[in-house]
């Protein structure tokens, strides 16, 4: 009896082990029978998931034998998951990519160079502007296909402006803008819930605004070989330019900013203006439906040169490890070029990059407003920037965090600039 038990135990363990080891080989892609299963990942919310569901199910219907399994998470969790997959050479067949991370993934042979696909397999980029396509290139390889475009804008909420009684400036210089922010705080108006209204938060913590400010002065933010193209003094000058607002209660307090996270202060209707990417409009409108939002170029001392540029709001990349490059490319081609797919997404991923989708769409409401803004700034645009340096995400996050210390009064401008600049150089050196 006991021996019998022993045999059972050993066999059971062996069976368990076999099952554990067999798990990997059993989940093949069903290559037999010509069926192809593609894995696709994106970041976003339920709204985006529904749009993908619509677009992908339509694609499966039109292409029997191809199934797409999509998964999504929020933006911060997306990158650790992809980086871990990259370490194991098991990236998804198709993934949504952000410009900030393109170089990280693309410089290491992790992503497929889609320009190597030819004939029927090639992805049609003819609908995209010539200045936009290089934004998806790393070291000459086309590792990203732009999905949509966005540009920076100064948003104004006319309803909030009216409540403060201080008229909002049109195409202001930086000084005029800062004076306006100070005047709003001095007016001391409150919103319907009794919260004080401000002109802005400390916008100098947003790294992208700093980059636009550098652009306005003709300074390239990064050199060809991935070093900083500006000095510590530039950072100190930028952060110091609003020192009066910061110390004098001109900006909304950092406590309030933190309380409202993940909403922005502009989402919450507690500031009259905000500088951000134009495709954020849809979010502002849905979070603050009572607002009357409009867009204009960001402040600039030379109104003819606001330093603006179009960049890919998002891109698609194909994992170099994919077993089905042709099918993956066909899917990307459909997502960026097919009018039906464009219809499914609207301007939720920025204005569609491909004219095949853009021209087929009837834009209305928010979508039309964003399209109109991007058309209006076209004569002012500089070339689209190359993918940012490796470690850009870290630079951006630290820029905001160290700027927060200025607002809490724990660092002086010079100390903050020195700390950020030192860390930034270290980060870039680590990523060489």
């Amino acid at each position: 009896m006991k021996r019998c038990m022993r045999i059972v135990a050993v066999t059971a363990t062996a069976a368990l082990l076999a099952a554990g080891c067999g798990g990997g080989s059993g989940s093949g892609d069903g290559a037999e029978g010509g069926d192809v299963s593609l894995v696709m990942t994106f970041w976003g919310n339920d709204d985006r998931a529904q749009r993908y569901d619509q677009a992908l199910r339509a694609y499966e219907e039109a292409n029997p034998g191809v199934t797409v399994q999509e998964t999504f998470v929020d933006y911060p969790s997306y990158w650790p998951a992809r980086a871990t997959e990259a370490a194991g050479r098991s990236l998804p067949d198709v993934m949504l990519m952000d410009l900030s991370y393109l170089r990280e993934f693309g410089a290491n042979g992790q992503l497929l160079d889609v320009s190597t696909l030819s004939g029927d397999e090639a992805i049609d980029l003819s609908g995209m502007s010539d200045s936009l396509i290089p934004s998806g290139q790393v070291d000459g390889a086309q590792v990203g296909v732009p999905v949509g475009t966005n540009a920076f804008a100064l948003f104004t909420d006319a309803a909030a402006v009216e409540a403060t009684g201080v008229p909002a400036p049109e195409q202001p210089t930086w000084d005029e803008y800062n004076d306006y922010v100070a005047a709003v705080a001095a007016a001391g108006a409150t919103d319907a819930e009794g919260q004080a209204l401000f002109g802005s938060g400390d916008y100098t913590g947003i790294f992208w605004i700093f980059i636009h400010w550098l652009n306005q002065q003709g300074v390239e933010p990064f050199t060809e070989d991935g070093e900083l193209g500006f000095t510590q003094d530039d950072v100190a000058e930028w952060w110091g330019s609003v020192e009066d607002l910061r110390g004098g209660g001109g900006f909304i307090s950092p406590e309030r900013v933190n309380q409202l996270t993940p909403l922005s202060i502009f989402d919450a209707g507690e500031t009259t203006t905000e500088q951000s990417w134009d495709n954020f409009l849809a979010g502002y409108v849905s979070n603050n439906p009572d607002g009357e939002h409009s867009l204009q170029p960001i402040p600039s001392d030379d109104p003819a040169d606001p330093g603006l540029f179009l960049k890919p709001s998002m891109l698609y990349s194909i994992g170099a490890n994919t077993e089905h490059p042709a099918e993956a490319a066909a899917l990307v081609d459909y997502l960026v070029n097919d009018p039906a797919a464009g219809e499914a997404f609207g301007t939720s991923q920025g204005l569609r990059a491909s004219s095949y989708q853009r021209d087929a769409m009837e834009l209305e409401g928010v979508d039309a407003q964003v399209a109109e803004y991007e058309e209006s700034i076209e004569p002012l645009l500089q070339d689209s920037p190359p993918p940012p340096v490796r470690g850009f995400g870290t630079l951006e996050a630290r820029f905001l965090e160290i700027n927060e210390n200025l607002n809490y009064g724990t660092l002086s401008v010079d100390e903050a600039a020195e700390q950020w600049y030192g860390e930034a150089q270290q980060t870039l050196a680590d990523n060489q």
Binding site: R6, W79, F105, A107, Q259, T410, Q419
Partner: protein
């Protein structure tokens, strides 16, 4: 003792022993067979990755390129990193204040529950409940809502004349908020204290009462010494836990450790470095430093325990 007995019995028990030894070997084998799943897990999922991370801590590794050896550079850079210093300060302060307060609270509640009351079972479950849900994501979200501008705490504060606003955005008040959260999750140490209190012989209290000892005296001279092994156990466990706070800090600060690094707990900073900045070598060095420090603290606890922990069965 045992060896001599066995040796003495050997001639008599020779034949059956051989059979039993074969049987024992068979049983050993079966034992290991049953253990295999656990052993595999232990070596493949725990020891293997730990050794790998020890190696990685001496390298620069960004997940995309193969690790490159840098020797002790990661460890040296740690001590020049202002955010690392911040994270050590936050975590140490949290442990030094949070653990004693939590232990005191859980002991107090355990003593209350140990009194003869009606509906004892109900109260025990009710007080244990926060620990069951405490580690969950939802509680961290609720906690944030309680301490935000216009949240319950802010309103109560306004009710008594404090116009201080919410705690979430104020760097000087986020750590107290975390300490309250951990103290509120006193269930696990409380249950252990309760079990310990049951073990204290009632006759000790009776004898002390007869001798005229009041409640304070009985607590200091009977309860505390008799509970000291349990206190030691809880102190050790809670201290180790305090160094590993992650989920609540991650959620309440939206993964940043803000405002102004005031919730930058050690493991959160480690995560930001490893999975946010893709600096796995640096993060591994941080992880190993934490292992060493927690190990050292545990060692100190054990060394000093001899002077204050009393085991009742012990004869000196």
């Amino acid at each position: 003792m045992t060896t001599t007995t066995r040796a003495a019995q050997r001639p008599l028990a020779e034949a059956p022993r051989r059979r039993s030894s074969r049987r024992r070997r068979g049983e050993d084998l079966a034992g290991y067979a049953f253990l295999t799943p656990w052993l595999l897990g232990f070596f493949l999922l725990t020891v293997g990755p730990m050794l790998a991370s020890l190696y990685l801590s001496f390298t620069r590794y960004d997940l995309f390129n193969a690790p490159s050896w840098v020797g002790l550079e990661n460890y040296q850079r740690l001590f020049a990193d202002p955010r690392f210093i911040d994270s050590v300060q936050v975590t140490t302060l949290f442990a030094v204040i949070g653990v004693p307060v939590k232990l005191a609270a859980s002991l107090a509640v355990a003593m209350l529950l140990n009194m003869a009351l009606g509906a004892k079972g109900f109260y025990r479950s009710a007080f244990y409940l926060p620990s069951l849900v405490g580690a969950s994501v939802s509680i961290a979200i609720v906690w944030r809502a309680i301490f935000i501008d216009g949240g319950i705490v802010d309103r109560i504060g306004q009710g008594v004349g404090l116009e201080a606003g919410g705690w979430v955005g104020d760097p000087s008040r986020t750590l107290p908020m975390f300490i309250l959260l951990t103290v509120w999750q006193f269930g696990a140490p409380m249950v252990i204290f309760l079990a310990g209190l049951k073990q204290v012989p009632a006759e000790l209290y009776e004898a002390a009462s007869v001798d005229g000892a009041g409640p304070v005296r009985r607590f200091l001279s009977i309860t505390l010494p008799m509970l000291s092994p349990v206190i030691f156990f809880n102190l050790l466990l809670e201290t180790i836990n305090a160094f590993q706070v992650f989920a609540s800090a991650f959620i309440i600060s939206n993964g940043t450790g803000g405002p102004a690094n005031s919730t930058l707990f050690y493991t959160l900073y480690l995560y930001i470095r490893g999975f946010g900045d893709f600096q796995m070598g640096y993060a591994s060095a941080m992880a190993w430093l934490l292992v060493l420090v927690v190990g050292a603290i545990t060692l100190v606890f054990f060394k000093t325990s001899r002077s204050w922990v009393h085991y009742s069965g012990e004869t000196r």
